[in-house]
Point group: C2
Chain length 292, copies 2
């Protein structure tokens, strides 16, 4: 059996009981280390499972799927994925490959940011499409996310914005010299995300990401409990001017609040706000929420 | 501590290790028995936890939250929720109440249909807002879902349609006589859902749910493994004409496929299709997918 197992959002204890049983039955266990970054180390997972893990970067999952699937018709093999296997990055390719090799496959689902974002208090029903925001460079500032957010905003829907992470980056020099030396991972911070959003708003001028008039909610380490999870709400302007430490440890995500919001959702998220008065004023004056 | 714990999608083993530890630490454990129906019995959960559960219907969660939260500042109390606590039905009310009583709260997330629907092979990124489809009666056919699906369809986005369930219904006679006798639970089947969708399409004529030209994917018991999980793809016409047993046991959900679909997604879902040729033809001719 080939198991594709979601690890959930935070640490070794977020695996499901079914997932843990499956892991313990496996002869080879791969840990995917690309789409997201688990908040704990491989070693801690290994100690918890009592099993060795093989790190698999995205390249390996894509190009060496036959090696991952080797003998999975005779023994149990697992690929562990942070969040859910069909979350932000899907794993349909390896499932298709398993299918064509007649290897039975079982997916063990878990929470991912795509549903746990509900923790910010906004109804999941009213989220539109999800977008990714990549690190801008001096010469490359892809802005198609803006059209997606605008489509959602025009319908009053919320947008979940997933912030870029860079792992296994090579410096230009190392790349040029063919040295496989990698830079430390980089995570986009909330202020940086806001700065990029504002830059494109200025360029495109659609009025959907105006810093002082757009409500947003920043989240990190959802489900991580006290001292880990952070939820901060405010205007884009407020979020952009906070010290990055306010938002806790990465990974960060950002929700752009749509106009189809209920006053109870505003009141729920108010307790996370940088400034209650500003939050309520913008909700009332710009979003048309009837608040007391 | 007040724990709000997601049970995941299928059975007692879908709880996370963290969730199970929390349950075992609690003096009172409530099981919410409204928003969804777990596929296993309360007794089986109790045996697995070694703890007694108190059934809490939606009424109780809404009106007796103070009783649920009683003493949660001194001992551990849990409310168990099928799926994720912030899935289709959110539990912000009771969290707000706990907050105002200064009771520390921890949410333990899990998979819900809102993210596990990715198992059908469509990118979660490209889902728009989610809609619910309620049982029509002779005199009550609420059709606002149509506007929502149209908004999504106009942007090419997919729509997750959650099908109604009726629990704790009283017959008119029992209701009139004030007898608290309840009918057996009812679950909307896929053919019934398709029939309702088609009825409103005929009425509204927006061309977004034309039976022979609209691709859809029916899912049930996602994550339930072999013999439980069912995924069936086809045109609405095809799905509507299948015997309901084709779709397995409830709960059922339906995805209306949007035009912003990649040919790899079509190919993935093809293996679940009622008829491969029809699936491919409609994908090519109506959705403009470039298939070989």
């Amino acid at each position: 059996m080939f198991y594709l197992i979601g690890l959930g959002l935070c640490d070794e204890k977020d695996i499901t009981v079914r997932g843990l049983e499956a892991v313990k039955s496996c002869t080879r266990i791969y840990l995917e280390a690309y789409t997201s970054i688990l908040m704990i180390q491989k070693e801690k997972l290994e100690a918890f499972y009592g099993k060795e893990l093989i790190l698999a970067d995205r390249d390996m999952v894509e190009t060496e799927s036959d090696e991952i699937l080797r003998d999975a018709d005779k023994e149990n093999v697992a690929l562990l994925v942070v969040g859910d296997p069909f979350g932000a990055t899907t794993h349909t390719d390896i499932v298709l490959r398993a299918r064509s090799l007649k290897i039975p496959t079982r997916v063990i689902h878990n929470a991912s940011i795509m549903n746990a974002i509900g923790a910010c208090g906004l109804q999941l029903y009213n989220f539109g499409q999800t977008v990714s925001l990549v690190f801008f460079t001096d010469t490359w500032k892809p802005d198609s996310f803006y059209d997606r957010i605008k489509e959602n905003a025009d319908l009053g829907m919320h947008t979940l914005v997933l912030l870029d992470i860079k792992v296994k980056e090579q410096s230009e020099e190392n790349l040029a010299r063919g040295r496989k030396i990698y830079e430390p991972p980089r995570y986009m911070s909330i202020p940086q995300a806001v700065s990029q959003l504002s830059e494109i708003e200025e360029l495109r001028n659609g009025g959907i990401l105006t810093p002082a008039k757009t409500l947003a909610i920043a989240v990190s380490r959802v489900g991580g409990g006290e001292g880990q999870e952070r939820i901060v709400s405010g205007t884009l302007e407020e979020l952009g001017s906070q010290d990055p430490s306010v938002f806790g440890e990465p990974l960060h995500s950002l929700v752009i609040v749509g106009k189809r919001i209920h006053h109870l959702e505003i009141e729920y998220a108010e307790s996370f706000s940088v400034d209650r008065e500003t939050w309520r004023n913008v909700a009332r004056d710009v979003y048309g929420c009837s608040l007391e």
